[in-house]
Each structure stands twice: as structure tokens, then as C-alpha cells.
Symmetry: C2
Subunit: 370 residues, 2 copies
Amino acid sequence: VIQRLAIVGLGLMGGSLGLAARERANVQRVVGCDPDEGARAAALTRGCVDEAGDDLAAAVADADVVALCAPVSELPVVLAELAGLAPQATVTDIGSTKTGVVAAVPAGLRARFIGGHPICGMETRGAQNARAELFDGATWYLTPLADTEPARLRDLHRLVAALGATPVAIDAGVHDRLLAVTSHLPHALANLLVVQAGEARIDGHDPLTAIGGSFRDMTRVAGANPRIWVDIFLDNREALASVLREHQRALGEVLTALEAGDAGYLARWIGQASGHHRRALAAQFDQRPEELYRVQVHVPDRPGVFAGITQALGAARINIEDFELHHFTPERGGTIELLVAGSEEAQRAVELLDAQGYGALAAPVLADDA
Amino acid sequence: VIQRLAIVGLGLMGGSLGLAARERANVQRVVGCDPDEGARAAALTRGCVDEAGDDLAAAVADADVVALCAPVSELPVVLAELAGLAPQATVTDIGSTKTGVVAAVPAGLRARFIGGHPICGMETRGAQNARAELFDGATWYLTPLADTEPARLRDLHRLVAALGATPVAIDAGVHDRLLAVTSHLPHALANLLVVQAGEARIDGHDPLTAIGGSFRDMTRVAGANPRIWVDIFLDNREALASVLREHQRALGEVLTALEAGDAGYLARWIGQASGHHRRALAAQFDQRPEELYRVQVHVPDRPGVFAGITQALGAARINIEDFELHHFTPERGGTIELLVAGSEEAQRAVELLDAQGYGALAAPVLADDA
């Protein structure tokens, strides 16, 4: 059991870590440290920490675990100070890239350091928005060094699991190459796409006023959080550049096929995308993708319309795997898309909704992949 | 008023067009034509058409309007036959690209031809899934030729509006260049992204098992409908190739900045993406993006949980602009994200949900763009 946890940096992540540690992991005492008085006050008000101060030495002195939740760019300075200040503590961080942090760990700390990176949404900011559930079900990468003491990795692994996350130990460099593909590349493509469309004028038409669902889905993260993302891109520049070059190479192949009118290449390429898309769906829903059905319902755009629909499905014990509303106009309403598992459940959902006077339709998610 | 509409090709689009024409546009008689007996039966059963046959000449003979809803690759042959078969009719189509179709219109038909392209989701297939609401609120591009008779454009414009769509007249070439940016480029990037991640193995790790929300959003359309998309890519190859080359150029700039460690460039680039993302949001929701709030609620994963939430909001007359469920696990539940307009509405939503025992949080959608 961890007696004393010190959290350096009381933002959304640090605050949520404190809340989860207190509520779920039985940590006896959580001490926060932040130079910003407002952040300390918010963390105290929300119950993220038992005490908070601005003195690093005092905060970490007796800590069993020190979690660095400050901006990545400040970590090298903090790490250099820590070795002497917290002589017993296991030290970890939560930065989005790991190679740089690991390289900045001073020799005296290497046996006690384990990098960390919880993968969770950060749509809000600040300790005032902290919540203990933030890490629920999230993958939390742990990147021990070659000389990290195994018992420390074991204890941190247990703490992370107690917070509600799934700890996954991984080499720091592998982590960064993996995130370059799964996170940094999509962010870069979203930015490129929205800038290209936003800057274009096609015979007077502004493409951004003519976008559909696929464009919206692809640019949801575009332009998010410049302060954080410049650091992420730069910290991981080597892995990201390599991934971007691979994208350029593959794009070049598609361009060649396109210009040659090579229908066979394009069909194989889309087929390959379809196969990988299925695998990704299966991993996401713990369901065989063949079992997933999309139920579409056209509804008027008025308050309370969801209640009748979700109640009917709830009463019939039909579980909704995913739920999206495509908003059209107040005059015409919109379309609800429900994702349900199982053809029998999908059929029952359609019958229930039809009985409520909605024209519902069900189709296998993979129907279009044939 | 259009007396007689002939629909050539009774798939989802042709069937839905028939339904909407009968139910909404007061078309007197809708005649369908399809070589496939199953498609004809489905269209008749669903009430998409008054009669259906496999003889093109018989179907179009007395038509005021002929709508070609067959696969784009079959259009040149059908168009060549039509001039003599339907001497009075206005002829249109619904293909996703327009330059090729327009070029295939024979001289005898040019005064009567207007290309068309309704932008609407096609998650299902076949006349059995037809629905009159398919075109609700959708942009429906109309591409008249230089020699199209104005009265015919006016009448088709009215028909499209009566179906529930928003007609937008546009030059065929401009249409194709616009769609290359707003639709074909996102599809190509989604395919490239999922193939790159799906083919990669990083020290044994399969990236597709480690993806998060941004990756999922960006690859939702990946691998969709190879039969349709090979045709779209090839029909629009010139405009698409130009757009892909522009993407390569911009990507090259980002790569150069990345390798040079140019934080200023990256910050300006993300800022530019942020600005365009705001504009796109504003166009999507008819709301100033500053007015949009994201309300997050953590909920258990059990049937009926939506009902309590949506009822509470419905009773309080809080309108939900958008609704997404991020599914985690049956054990841990998931997070619902509601999009509501107005800070006061968002605050009321949080209070109502808190009162129901859910820990809800609200934040401006643009908070992270600062």
C-alpha cells in the first residue's frame, strides 16, 4: 500500500490522479505541488489532494511515489532536482512522449524511475474539472528503464490498475513509435486536411461550408491544444517524421495508380483498408464486427425525443454499443444511429422503434465492406 | 407539377427517390426500371414505385423526368440510348462525380440534361432500405450544361427542394474539384491511415489494438464500399490527384519544420487548423462555435441508462445538438458526450445530471483551441 503520493502539477491530469488515488487506491495521503495558487485552490476544493503547496522539496520529501504531471517541457529541470529531494520515492510522469523524459532522468534516479502515459481524453482542463473516472478502462503505458528496480514497477503497476486503468509495460522508444502511428499521425493529418480545405477557394466556393460526415469525423481533433501539441510533435519528431515519410511513400503509390487508371490497385488498396478497419472495430467493441448492426432512426429535433427511444430499448434489455445523432435542422430533425450487437437485438430494436412510430432500419456495419 | 418520373436503377438511392417523390413531391406516377428482379420486387414492396419493369424504353417513354440511379459506369450506355427513347424528358443522374457523366451526354440530350449529386449517407444498401427522409436537409448539387434549357433546371430545382434537400447549382468541374477536397481526400486519407497502422508491427505491437478516439474518428469511412469508391477515385482522378499532390506539398513543409525543430512554424500551423476548425463547426451547427458546450457524463454500461439522462434534459427543454457514447467496458461503463448550445443550458444540464447522481462536467468546445 502506498502511504504518501506527491503530485507535481495540479491540472486536469494531476487533479484526477489525486482524486482517483484517494477514492480508489487507498492512498493515505496525497500532497500536491503547483506554483499556481488558483490550481492549488481548485485541487483542494475538489478534494484532489489532502494538502497543496508551492515548495517541491516539502511536497516530495516523504513521498513513496512522486507523479510528475507538469508540462513535459518542465520535466528535465524538476527531474534534476528530485534525486536529492525524494531519496526513497518511485518517480513517474504522465507525458505523451517518453524517449525525451527517459533521457533526462539523472543517474541517481534511474533505479527508481518509470515513465508513464495514460491514454485518456482531455477535452477539459484544470483541476476544477478533475474526475476520478478519467482513467477508467484507459491504457496506461509504463516505460521502465533497464535499471528500474522490479519491485517498484510492480507497485506502480498495481497503483495504476487500482486507479481503474490498464497498465501496459512497454519500452520508451517503442511507445513513441507506436503513438506516432496511432495518435500523432492522425492529429497531423487532421490538421493538414482542415488547413487544405480551409485555405482553398474553388471557383468562389468555400469547401468548409460544403463538408459532410466523413470530413467532420476526420477533423474532430484538428487544431486542438497548440501548446501541448507543438511539444508532442517536437518531442517525438524522429518517430513522427519517419511515419509521415511512410505516409508520403504510400500516398505516392496511390497517386501513381490513380494517374495510371489502375483500378486493380485501387480495389486491392480499399480492400486492404476494409480488412484493417474490421480488425480495428473488433478490437474496439470486444465484439466480432460481423455481429455489429447499425440501427438508423429518423427523429424530429425536439427535446425529449431520445427518452422514448432509449426507454423502449432499455426496457427490452437491448444494449447500445454506440450512439450518434446526426443533426440536420430544427425544422427537419435528424438521424440517430445506434450500434447494437447481434442481429436478433437489431431486429428487435427496429420492431420496437417501428411500434413507436419511428421508421427504423437495421443493417450490418460491415455491409458496405463486401 | 411532374406527372411521371422514371427511375433507372432501384437501389437505396433510386428507391428512396421514388418514395420521397411519391410521398412529398406529389409526383403522379413513378415508374422504376432495373434488370434485377429482386430489386424490382423490393422497390414495389416498399412502395418506392407504382410499377417496375426491366425494359428501359417502356419505363421512360412518357416520362417528364428520368432519374438515372444506376452505377456510374453504366451511365454512358444508358445515356446513348435515352435521347431517342424519352424525347420530352428532363434527364438527371445522382452520381458522385459529374465531369465524366456530363461528357457522355449525347448532343440530342444536352438541352434536357442536368447532372445531380445528393450528398447523403449511404450506410445501407438496396431498395428494401429506402426511406423518404434520406435526402432531408442534404445538399443536392445540380450541374446544368451550358445548353440546358433554364425551365428544366427550374423544375428540377423545385423537385429536389420538394424531396427535402437543398438544391445547389454548380458547374460540373467545380463540383468535382470541391468534392475532391471535401470527400475524396478524406476517404483517401482514412484508407492510407488504417492501412499504414494495420500493416505496421512495432516491436511486436499491433497499432490497431492500441488506437484511441482520434484514430477511430479518422478511419470511420476507411475501406467503405470498394465497388463505388474505385469508380469515384478514377472518375475524379485528375482533381483528386491535384488535391493529393497539394497534400503532399503541405506535408513536406510540415516535415521540414519538424526536422528543423521549428516550433514557431508548428504553432502557426496548428493555430491555422484551429481557426478553420472553428469555421467548420459554425457552418455545421448554425451556432457560433463559442456557444457550443460539451457536457461529459460517466455512466454505467447497462440498458436504460440513457433514458434517465435524456428524459431529465428533455423535461428541462435542453436541446441536444449532438450525442456520442464512448464505450469502454461492460464492467466500467462509458462516457456520454452531449453537445448543447449556450452556457446557461450547459450549466443547467450539469446540475440536472448531478441531481441524478451522475458526475457531469461542462466545458466550451473551443476551450482547447486557446
